[in-house]
Symmetry: C2
Amino acid sequence: MKRAIQNPLISPKDVSPSAEGFQVLGAFNPGATSFNGEILLLIRVAESCEQKEGSISVPTYVFENGTGTPQVQTFDLNDPDVELKDTRGVKVKGMEYLSTMSHIRIARSSDGVNFTVDPKPFLAPTSENECFGIEDARVTKIEGRYYINYTIVSPDSWCTALAVTDDFVSVERLGIIFPPENKDVCLFPEKVNGKYIAFHRPNNGGFGKASIWYAESPDLICWGNHKCMLRPRDTSYESMKIGGGSAPIKTDKGWLTIYHSKGDNQRYSLFALLLDLEEPWRVIKQAVLPLLQPEEPYETEGFFGNVVFTNGMVVKGDEIMMYYGASDETCCLATGSIKEILNDL
Amino acid sequence: MKRAIQNPLISPKDVSPSAEGFQVLGAFNPGATSFNGEILLLIRVAESCEQKEGSISVPTYVFENGTGTPQVQTFDLNDPDVELKDTRGVKVKGMEYLSTMSHIRIARSSDGVNFTVDPKPFLAPTSENECFGIEDARVTKIEGRYYINYTIVSPDSWCTALAVTDDFVSVERLGIIFPPENKDVCLFPEKVNGKYIAFHRPNNGGFGKASIWYAESPDLICWGNHKCMLRPRDTSYESMKIGGGSAPIKTDKGWLTIYHSKGDNQRYSLFALLLDLEEPWRVIKQAVLPLLQPEEPYETEGFFGNVVFTNGMVVKGDEIMMYYGASDETCCLATGSIKEILNDL
């Protein structure tokens, strides 16, 4: 695939903090869709707090009447109750606070390259089960509505929730669709054999390696008939785990999708995968070499270097516009031809 | 609750091995139901292999045409490819084998105390996703049919599958209902507000402690609207995790259920819990002290001592017959009055 020369398209400096005292560390892992002639990215914005000597400040939300208000909490480092938990947070009297918090922000573009980032969050924590943040949104247009699945994080762990919007202004939450520990959920754009289809990615805390699973649903809310459909291969690219990308693309050869792998040295790469049209848990072809792997400086350096991660694609005719997060810090674009990707498989 | 003086009711010596060369180590954690005037227990039978010097033998299944055949696999300990994995198994050329394997066996009784164990397995592995065994069955009678949920184990991890039977002779598998890592699933005996209800217990491999979750379903196959409903308390009984027992009992005060906790020193105890009739994710009352904790020698000693674990109850009028696994080795019974348990809450 061909990287946009304008990469990175969106960087933390392009995003205004969501609250006084917050600072933006990352604007990455964008969900993507076309809507009303524009391309919209649903960016994951990760924020921390400005720090002062002798204290630690963390981003939190206060919940009341179904809304969440961002609030800086500051703790005195000399307080014996304040316990630093490596770089990721702080523990105070049994309560844990993370040093970064994510929400979802929309960026809008008429050409798919030059984006304007909304000043306010689109999806931010509104209840306790989202109190550690909202991450990695994916958008799928199904039967005329835009379904957004995203990772929610709380002291209970992380899992995947669903929301729906018609206008990308208001959004209705539909609850948790895959319980902990689960992320990297991709909804198919249409029913297959009368059922909605999703990939998901359970974590393997005990044994086995995190793999891509298949599930079916009558209503997008309740999911069953789970099958493990693709496991990490024994290669340096996939030695740790794999997970789904964004909504698969229907082609006459099968469902085309791009998944990510985490390999040696925690390096993330992207691979093409072709699935059977009627039995989408069946793999027809799987790329041996990555479509994209970290090579450019904005992919090898940054907040968490050596990461390319896609959860948003837009298709225009034969062209795939693959938006991706680089180094857990920025939004980038690579383009390719569906025909060529299928031929190379 | 009052322990049966005949405890343990069923021990490994009462169960015939399921294959030549297998030996029974445990007959425990029984699901329970009344059926045709009898009480049936669905026992978890754990088997290992008889060992010979200089080699290691492990219980496996060979799969063909949708059936599984138990088979002893023996590896030469002098073979450099054979790597012992502590006491739990062996790894040979990248393939892992566990040293024990579980299946589900039925035991039948007219008085609920004296049981005859079927000579053959009721639910044993029939496909690769069950190749490390089937564990901890729970039976719930719903709309006249007997639904059985159970833990399946494979190299992909552990999760919960569903099956249904009308006669406890033949059984139809309905697939995976809660993907990894998930067990301790309890199905409610009837719909609440037009939906089937379950508890489940996702694992927390990352952070948080394993807790009891609530879910809803239109069809018992697909599950959604997940909520974390009960977390371990900060006590010596619940310091590690908690998980659901068997199908809750409907009383005029609410849904009564008995859950297990894993606390300090990996000790398991059992607690009563009362839930709202209309909103079963709402806790009305939770016992402070356990209903049952390991005290008798058959509960404190054995294959894995200091464990009492229930996944099967039968109700007769005001009496609860709570069957439970002791020390991961035997099946036991304790009885109690629903009224008294509710009064003590």
